[in-house]
């Protein structure tokens, strides 16, 4: 299956991945509408890290034995047949067991709505994840595994 690989040595820190991730997961799918909407800046499904000049974007690793799925009290966190770890907001009660269990810290809580706010869904339905597609320096790439 295909997995997202991040290469921090190529990351320019432009944060376009974040912008396009949020846009891809917005209702309008339009950058301007997404970022200028009345609801304020949306959450992207990746975590952008920055320490001095070193930067990279980290998104759900879609673990084989995903600890977030094991910890989920409601089975809101689940794996589809492609091995993508997905999240069902209907079932989520916001217990934050997944936030506790995820060793990468890539699940973001929406404390107001008491639901997982955002989590990488591998851009299910798109040909290529938005972060991969829009990274100008190939710091985020798709790689085939096994």
């Amino acid at each position: 299956m295909k997995k997202i690989v991040i290469r921090e040595e190529y990351c320019l820190g432009c944060r376009l991945c974040e912008v396009h991730c949020a846009t891809a997961h917005s209702k309008s799918k339009n950058i301007i509408k997404t970022f200028k909407s009345a609801q304020g800046r949306p959450l992207s499904a990746l975590v952008f890290e920055e320490q001095g000049y070193t930067t990279f974007a980290l998104q759900c690793r879609h673990c084989k034995d995903a600890p977030c799925i094991e910890s989920c009290l409601t089975s809101a966190m689940y794996k589809d047949k492609h091995g993508t770890v997905l999240h069902d907001t209907e079932k989520c009660v916001g217990c934050w067991m997944c936030i506790m269990a995820c060793p990468f810290g890539v699940i973001k809580p929406d404390l107001k709505e008491k639901k997982v706010g955002s989590k990488c869904d591998f851009c299910t339905g798109r040909e290529k994840p938005a972060c991969v597609e829009h990274c100008p320096n190939h710091a985020i790439i798709l790689k085939e595994y096994r």
Binding site: E49, E50, K64, E70, C95, W96, P103, G105
Partner: protein, 424 residues
């Protein structure tokens, strides 16, 4: 071959999935004294009215068919005969097994308080769904507006959350000097206590119930160790749970606090396994056996037990206590050893604007973490504990809000982020 499983919650479900991964053919029979599968931690959400009864299940509707298992509802196991390899039920039915998994979970601890009788109406525990349904009926019928919760541990606080959502004022009676005393210190507790006060509730610390006063089998009042008597019509007994090891008596299955298991989740009797809140498996930090009654541990142990039952040798490497609790809108996550009793630990603290972080370090390794109102990226701390990463060079960054993978040593993060295995 027949796999027999006693109990049908998360440990059992994980075990079944795991057995079926390696063994498609053997028979799997489940005995449960319940009438449905439900996620036990959700009972507080059910009490609050946030999750309906039909949404309490955490398995697909067709799970039984898909896994080809037979579930015997409402069938309590009564006795294990490890020589004949049979289990007898409450109706004296005798069921043979080849491999047995005990995942009977925990039962609420009932304190021998003066004046306490099982049949007094108005006293409830908060562990099983059936009990919570009775509690809801009682609240509605008697138009309950206030209550007393005995115990400010996890169960007590979860009960508090559900009751507060029903606009019921609570008084929490607790022996310790703080809420969630197992994991929280006074600073962490103060953040919750403030919220409790705002909700019009009261926290009676360093207090116990001396006597339960009832009239015509109805709860009327409680006499406290402080000398005060408080009127109430509802008492939640939330002093904790203990492993339900009743079945093991006289079977030769070794028990301590819980059923003692090895790293294959097998008891001292070959072919008999235990997992979940009833089991006493390896605790990661101490290396010794301990009962860790939390969901993820039950899920992991069940999975390991199932694999071994199906003949696929799998080792359980041990877990440590961790939990995520949100009370009155205050989210908190804790890991490991958070209140060390000796002086050979270093403690890093930050407390700012209602956000509290505490990191407990021993010999440059993190062994415990408490995060209140600051749970973002919490799981990374769990990883650092598990991997025993030397944090001597990054102590300053651990408490900062931009703490993340980039502050970790390059080799370490590369291995986890781009290495093989669970990672990319």
């Amino acid at each position: 071959m027949r796999h027999l499983i006693i109990g049908y919650s998360v440990a059992a479900i994980s075990a079944i999935k795991s057995i079926r991964e390696f063994d498609k053919a053997s028979e799997i029979v489940v005995l449960t004294d319940e009438t449905s599968v439900y996620s036990r931690p959700l009972i507080s959400y059910f009490l609050a009215g946030q999750v309906m009864k039909n949404k309490l299940s955490f398995i697909p509707k067709d799970f039984e068919e898909e896994m080809k298992i037979t579930v015997r509802w409402n069938t309590a196991a009564k006795k294990i005969d490890s020589k004949k390899k049979t289990v007898s039920t409450a109706d004296n039915e005798i069921i043979k097994y080849d491999r047995l998994l005990i995942c009977t979970g925990g039962v609420p601890i009932k304190l021998p308080i003066d004046g306490y009788f099982e049949d007094i109406s108005g006293i409830f525990t908060f562990v099983k769904l059936g009990e919570v349904e009775k509690l809801i009926k009682y609240i509605e019928k008697n138009k309950i507006k206030e209550c007393v919760i005995l115990g400010a541990g996890l169960i007590g606080m979860k009960a508090a959350e559900g009751l507060l959502a029903r606009k019921i004022k609570i008084r929490i009676v607790e022996m310790a000097d703080r809420l969630l005393a197992n994991t929280f210190d006074k600073t962490a507790s103060a953040l919750l206590e403030e919220k409790l006060k705002e909700s019009g509730s009261e926290f009676l610390k360093e207090t116990t119930i001396k006597k339960i006063i009832s009239k015509a089998k109805k709860l009327e009042a409680l006499e406290l160790s402080s000398g005060k008597t408080i009127k109430t019509r509802l008492l939640i007994m939330a002093v904790g749970v203990r492993p339900d090891i009743e079945l093991c008596k006289g079977t030769g299955v070794a028990v301590n606090r819980g059923i003692v298991v090895n790293t294959k989740m097998e008891t001292n009797i070959p072919g008999i396994y235990a997992a979940g809140d009833v089991a006493e498996g390896r605790e990661f930090l101490s290396g010794e056996n301990a009962v860790i009654a939390i969901w993820p541990v039950a899920a992991r142990q069940g999975g390991v037990a199932g694999a071994n039952m199906a003949g696929k040798i799998t080792e359980y490497d041990g877990m440590f206590p961790m939990n995520s609790v949100t009370i009155l809108g205050v989210p908190s996550i804790s890991f490991g050893l958070t209140n060390p009793k000796t002086a050979d630990y270093q403690i890093l603290l930050s407390s700012e604007g209602g956000r509290y972080k505490k990191i407990v370090i021993k010999e440059d390794r993190i062994v415990g973490v408490v995060l209140v109102n600051a749970i973002e990226r919490a799981g990374i701390f769990g990883l650092l504990i598990k991997q025993k990463l030397d944090v001597s060079a990054l102590k300053k960054q651990l408490l900062l809000d931009d703490f993340g993978f980039l502050v970790l040593p390059r080799d370490f993060r590369k291995h986890f982020v781009t290495g093989e295995g669970t990672e990319v």
